[in-house]
Symmetry: C2
Subunit: 135 residues, 2 copies
DNA sequence: AGCTTTTTACGAAATACTTCGTAGACAAAG
DNA sequence: CTTTGTCTACGAAGTATTTCGTAAAAAGCT
């Protein structure tokens, strides 16, 4: 199995906001990211710049500096980042019980019929998988 | 509907660790909580004391100061705290989609057959509830 | 060319959170 | 009574994160 990242990906809250923009829109300039963030809340341009520079240092983002205006790309995928944050969150808040988390999330959410069906399908899949592997 | 807490409950990571002890063991002294924490990692006594004092100020805990050794009790329930943290986490990490979170949590399954059955039962319940309300 | 705007770099202030040292009160033990 | 230990209070240092001001370089404009 290829491990593209040996270290744990742990973006801070602000870094995560920026990653969301990069994941959604792809490679972007600081200006663009800052504009996106400012649709939700006021953030100074240099604040965003600094954060993105730090993210590049940390390896959360990569940047193309061949032009005067640098282009930043996410260096981690959304799925792996979510997985890491989720694991950490479950450990902290639900003492490691992913099931408790699922129950709580399901219980308090207005899930549509379609969504519930989706989950049921997934459960089916997991169960089948389990039997096949004789787990 | 009675709102026991108008403000959002947002314990920090350290505060959450302490709350876990209080939820599990009920009203406790600083000494007891500190001993519990030290089973996992080294923490100074005054560190725990300070945190618990802050928690009392913030309203996360209550304390009985009638004796020299104060007794601290949780002032928030485990369920409501988990719910608040969960909502916040889903917003941040899954852009508000609880379903994505559930799918991801389930997908990384170490779920046992029994746990999956539990979830299926919960889904059944939600679906029945939904039909009853003709939602 | 001269002025304005945009961008990066740098550093430091501001904020949030965690940790601990020290002091004083009180209690327990000898 | 004196010594030793435990507890609270307080403040401040340490660390992580966020925010921004300023400067210099590059680009755009008139």
């Amino acid at each position: 199995m290829i491990m593209s990242q040996s270290k744990k990906i742990r973006p801070t809250e602000s870094e995560l906001e920026i990653l969301q923009v990069l994941w959604e829109h792809g490679p972007s300039t600081v200006r663009f990211v800052n504009d996106q963030l400012n649709e939700d809340r006021e953030v100074g341009y240099t604040t965003t710049l600094k954060l993105m520079q730090i993210m590049a240092e940390k390896g959360l983002a990569e940047r193309d500096t061949s032009q005067r205006t640098h282009i930043y790309s996410p260096a981690v995928t959304e799925a792996e980042t979510q997985q890491n944050l989720l694991t950490q969150f479950v450990d902290r808040t639900f003492k490691g019980s992913a099931m408790k988390l699922v129950m709580q999330a399901l219980g308090n959410h207005n899930a549509s019929e379609a969504e519930l069906d989706e989950i049921k399908a997934l459960i089916e899949e997991i169960e089948t998988e389990g039997r096949r592997k004789n787990k």
